[in-house]
């Protein structure tokens, strides 16, 4: 390859998130806002699965809640035809993520599965990624949180317990992705099938509003719901190319 073409190849890769030409998997989630009732089962399931600490009342009063997925409420109209709609907001694992460019030590980057990885023990806590994230889905450990015994027996051994000074966010339950890949590798090295891997929130959503899967597999349920005519992406005009597709709420 001539020097120039090598340079152009490098530049083209440089423009890609994580310098990949092709993603290995391309994990995606769709959220059907017509089905979401705002019951917040996903919030508790996520806290149970990912060792998210309970920060206590005065930390909440200071505005330091710790929830990787939060339900945002938007009222439309006034009484008596007031309507309330909910929108679950979690890390969108954007393919052009503003947070990945700003971390000085590269603690957050795009990996080959299309995930925005947040490596806890590489993070030095500049919190620039939280500023750059337009979705406000990055949460900072302001203190070392402790679990009153015996609550710590419930901690999930597959997920790090984060110390103070570290940024954390939704990881699409990376420990479950790793587990699914492990099982798939045992089964003569096949790929993870659709439905084998479900994050805790998708698994517990009582109205099945949340669907998760690999966008590269065209028979997967997420691929179909991703191309549902009602699909849109929040703050799409910012060109973050997010991997979470929302389906519009239907007004009948």
């Amino acid at each position: 390859m001539s020097l120039f073409s090598r340079f152009m190849d490098g530049w083209r890769k440089y423009r890609k998130p994580g310098y990949y030409d092709e993603f290995d998997y391309h994990w995606t989630m769709t959220i059907d806002l017509d089905k979401c009732t705002g019951c917040e089962a996903c919030v508790t399931a996520c806290q149970a699965e990912n060792n998210i600490p309970v920060v206590g009342e005065d930390e909440m009063a200071k505005g330091r809640e710790m929830q990787w997925i939060r339900i945002e409420r938007y009222w439309e109209g006034e009484y008596p035809n007031a309507k309330l709609s909910f929108i679950p907001m979690m890390c969108q694992h954007c393919d052009a993520a503003p947070c990945e460019t700003v971390c000085p030590v590269g603690a957050t980057y795009h990996n080959q599965d299309g995930l925005n990885a947040q490596i806890y023990n590489r993070c030095i806590g500049t919190r620039a990624c939280a500023v750059y994230c337009p979705y406000e889905v990055r949460y900072f450990n302001y203190y070392d949180h402790e679990w009153d015994s015996p609550l710590e027996q419930q901690l999930n051994p597959d997920v790090t317990v984060r110390g103070k000074g570290v940024m954390e966010k939704c990881t699409f339950c990376i420990q479950r992705i790793r587990q699914a890949k492990d099982v798939a590798k045992d089964d003569d090295r096949r790929r993870v099938q659709d439905g084998e891997m479900q994050p805790a929130c998708v698994q517990t959503c009582p109205t099945k509003a949340l669907v998760f899967g690999d966008r590269k597999e065209h028979e997967s349920q997420v691929y179909k719901s991703m191309n549902d005519p009602r699909n849109y992406r929040v703050l799409d005009e910012l060109n973050t190319d997010s991997s979470v597709f929302y389906l519009k709420k239907v007004d009948a």
């Binding site: 998130p17 990949y20 059907d32 089905k35 009732t37 705002g38 019951c39 917040e40 089962a41 508790t44 399931a45 806290q47 149970a48 309970v54 009342e57 909440m60 809640e65 939060r70 339900i71 409420r73 938007y74 009222w75 439309e76 009484y79 035809n81 007031a82 309507k83 309330l84 709609s85 929108i87 393919d95 009153d148 015994s149 015996p150 609550l151 027996q153 419930q154 901690l155 999930n156 805790a200 698994q203 517990t204 009582p206 109205t207 099945k208 590269k216 991703m226 191309n227 005519p229 009602r230 699909n231 849109y232 703050l235 799409d236 005009e237 389906l247 709420k249 239907v250 007004d251 009948a252």
Partner: protein, 761 residues
């Protein structure tokens, strides 16, 4: 070597020595602390280190009875998930079900039997052994039984089903005492009574939400905590977007928008207590428009004669054209379904309202149809005639205690001191009972007044089973097995009762050593019902297969044929609701509703639940009163202003939350906070609206009309910062939640999102 004198040399050697020592200690300091690797003595067979083991069980955080599958690692429970094989939960769970682990590992659990010492203020509990505790209670029971005065023993439990209820019943039968009461604040007494009146059977039918195309819900918050929230959510999701070409429509009629109201297509604020009148208004319109031509048409027309849309509109505050439009769409879209309950059932006309809702279903003819109201078959569980205690039954119990007719009261799993209004004076009645025994796992308000505490396991450590009440249209059962070995010196509720039965000499009738044995004995009967193939493999194989699957079912459906006896039609009619307190000095109607996080207060000691933002207001760790924006404007109130809520029977001080979807003369406070005891997470937080409810009764069932209290609102001028996670809950034109209308094929290219074929990154 540069010439240095002796003093210089000695100084250098000294410094060198010190620094070598310092270097040595520095390395010692940053060595990892010594850790141990403790092996097993005998290698366990059901789990290996580093791998997960899943156990199926049943969730008992609320009466719905969803099947759960608990992931454990090396003997510790890590995560609760729904059991995909269980028809009620189908692999899904609600927020309270997910938080079950914090009940198991709660730091404020009772760890050993205790006995009260000292009196009055200086009363405290001292730890005793199980032998002492059981002996003290067992001997008293034996004495009473021998003296044929067993009826002086009362047993108060939460609404349990399955073999535990049967155990309690046979235990009380041994004592010859009729006083076995199942008491829950949120038990829908009026719905059971309405079904008894209308269908002739006091059981809940199966509401087939999944296949319906229009649901009218009169006050029932079916997505939050009405009867079976997870199953209803599954049905809601299926009806909304589950089918390719059809989208179910949901209409909610209630004075304050609940979670189901937010999810509905249309929220219709009707005056509190007039939901039944609205239902009859719709029925009148259906019959008047000739859309009903059953044989008993004549009886219906004169029964519904005076419920003309105008009269109904005036009484309920719902405009006439809404009534007619709703009635027509209820008839045109088939299958359609009407459900009622929740706050609508907690008025003085509760039963009539729900009979009216059943009438609507009858007029449209969706009883027994798919997508309508399916009558449940006989429950497969043990035949138990549960005496569900209404509010007046609890007042009678308190009265009997005051008269000194009760020597022993055993309480298991219910917390009446918190869930009964002070007008019942239940706490004072407890003081009159010589021996109060509590089997609760936590020190809640009632257990704090007990004399002897025999703490029982939480549901993840004990045996039990459950046959879900409204079920899924066919009979379903599931066994709840322990997923972890017990943490503390506690025992299963069933084991305690069996032990007490042995001590009072009825071990011949109740021979089982522990709850597991009793369960197997009970399930042998269900095993007999099995087809030849299950009978062939023997009971043990059947038992392990039920434990492994976590669910058991029979495909016997309920009867679809249903004939309504004529005199029910004559009795149709809903009187306008009465309220306690006059309109002048108590202008507002209090609408207490079950909080999504704490149900009726049982979830308040779970840290996740305290920290979960309330779905509608995003407030955490506290209570609030929801006020209509216009009313708040008039009274000069804004979010966080402290106000005094005064009812004829009590007063509360609580901050205001301006709530856009509540009627102007109605204010709402969530139930669940305001605990005096119940652990570090719940104690001293928020207020309990039950404390100011006036003891107005619903005449037919005798239950408390909890939505029928009038209150007034006086600002105190104080302000507090309402702790909440939400910021400004208005979209400000940013299209964050985007909407589309039905049937419009919005091709993805139309709006500005990138056409998604294969997003080439």
């Amino acid at each position: 070597m540069p010439n240095i004198d002796r003093r210089e040399f000695l100084k250098l050697v000294g410094a060198g020595g010190v620094s070598v020592g310092a270097g040595f200690m520095l390395r010692e300091a940053n060595k990892d602390p010594r850790e141990y690797l403790i092996p097993h003595v005998l290698a366990p067979e059901d789990f290996s280190s580093g791998l997960d083991t899943f156990y199926n069980s049943v969730c008992s955080m609320c009466p719905a009875g969803c099947g759960i599958s608990v992931r454990t690692r090396e003997g510790r429970a890590k995560k609760i998930e729904g059991n995909p094989a269980h028809p009620v939960s189908q692999g899904r769970l609600c927020t309270l079900g997910q938080a079950g682990l914090q009940a198991l590992y709660n730091p404020d659990r009772l760890t050993a039997p205790m006995r009260r010492t000292g009196e009055g203020e200086s009363a405290s509990f001292e730890e005793i052994t199980w032998e002492q505790g059981l002996k003290q209670v067992g001997d008293r029971l034996d004495l009473l039984r021998a003296a044929r005065r067993g009826n002086r023993v009362a047993f108060l439990t939460q609404g349990v089903r399955g073999h535990l209820a049967q155990l309690f019943e046979s235990f009380m039968r041994q004592l010859g005492s009729p006083r076995l009461l199942h008491y829950d604040f949120d038990h829908p007494h009026t719905l059971y009574a309405a079904n008894q009146q209308f269908f002739g059977e006091s059981r809940l039918p199966y509401y087939d939400l999944a296949n319906t195309r229009l649901l009218l819900s009169f006050g029932a918050d079916y997505l939050n905590n009405w009867i079976s929230p997870v199953h209803h959510s599954l049905g809601f999701g299926e009806s909304r977007q589950g089918r390719a070409d059809v989208r179910g429509r949901f209409v909610q009629i209630e004075p304050r928008m609940s979670i189901s109201g937010a999810a509905a297509d249309e929220w219709i604020p009707a005056k509190p207590g007039t939901e039944g009148i609205l239902a009859l208004g719709l029925a009148h319109h259906i019959v008047a428009e000739g859309n009903y031509n059953g044989a008993d048409l004549g009886a219906w027309t004169n029964a519904l004669a005076d419920y003309t849309p105008d009269a109904v509109a005036e009484q309920t505050g719902v405009p006439v054209n809404s009534i007619t439009r709703l009635a027509d769409s209820f008839v045109d879209t088939t299958p359609s379904l009407a459900i009622g309950g929740g706050a609508a059932g907690n008025h003085s006309n509760g039963v009539d309202t729900l009979v009216a809702v059943n009438a609507l279903n009858y007029l449209v003819g969706n009883i027994g149809q798919e997508g309508g109201l399916v009558l449940n078959p006989e429950p497969a569980g043990p035949a138990v005639q549960q005496h569900r205690a209404s509010y007046s039954a609890m007042v009678e119990l308190a009265e009997a205690a005051r008269q000194g007719e009760i020597d022993i009261l055993i309480i298991s799993g219910t917390n009446p001191v918190f869930t009964l209004p002070p007008a019942a004076e239940f706490a004072e009645a407890l003081a009159q009972i010589p021996l109060v025994v509590s089997l609760s796992s936590f020190l809640d308000e009632t257990t704090a007044l007990a004399d002897v505490i025999l703490p029982s396991h939480t549901y993840l450590e004990s045996w039990g089973d459950d046959f879900p009440e409204p079920g899924v249209g066919f009979s379903v059962g599931a066994v709840s097995q322990p997923v972890v070995s017990p943490l503390y010196n506690t025992r299963g509720t069933g084991d305690i009762i069996l032990d007490l039965a042995r001590r009072m000499g009825s071990s011949s009738v109740m021979p089982w050593q522990n709850m597991e044995e009793f369960l197997k004995y009970g399930w042998r009967r269900i095993y007999q019902r099995g087809d030849s193939q299950t009978l062939a493999q023997g009971f043990d194989a059947f038992w392990t297969s039920v434990l492994k699957a976590g669910a058991w079912g029979e495909t016997t459906n309920g009867s679809t044929a249903f004939t309504l006896n004529p005199d029910v039609i004559a009795g149709i009619g809903v009187a306008p609701p009465e309220f306690s307190g006059s309109e002048e000095d108590y202008p507002f109607i209090l609408h207490p509703y079950l909080s999504p996080n704490f149900h009726d207060g049982r979830g308040a000691n779970l840290p996740w639940m305290q920290e979960l933002p309330d779905p509608m207001t995003s407030v955490v760790y506290g209570s609030w009163v929801e006020v209509n924006p216009v009313t708040a404007e008039e009274m000069g109130l804004s979010e966080g202003d402290l106000v005094d809520i005064q009812s004829p029977h009590g007063q509360l001080r609580v901050p205001v939350f301006v709530y856009p979807a509540i009627m102007p003369n109605v204010i709402a406070i969530p139930i669940g906070q305001g605990h005096g005891e119940y652990g570090r997470y719940a104690k001293g937080r928020g207020v309990n609206p039950i404390e100011i409810l006036s003891p107005l009764l619903e005449p037919i069932t005798g239950n408390l009309a909890s939505s029928a209290t009038r209150v007034n609102l006086t600002p105190t001028g104080g302000r507090v910062k309402l702790v909440k996670t939400g910021g400004v809950s208005r979209d400000l034109g940013r299209d964050i939640v985007q909407h589309t209308s039905l049937g419009v094929e919005v091709s993805s290219a139309a709006d500005n999102s990138i056409p998604i074929t294969e997003v080439t990154t």
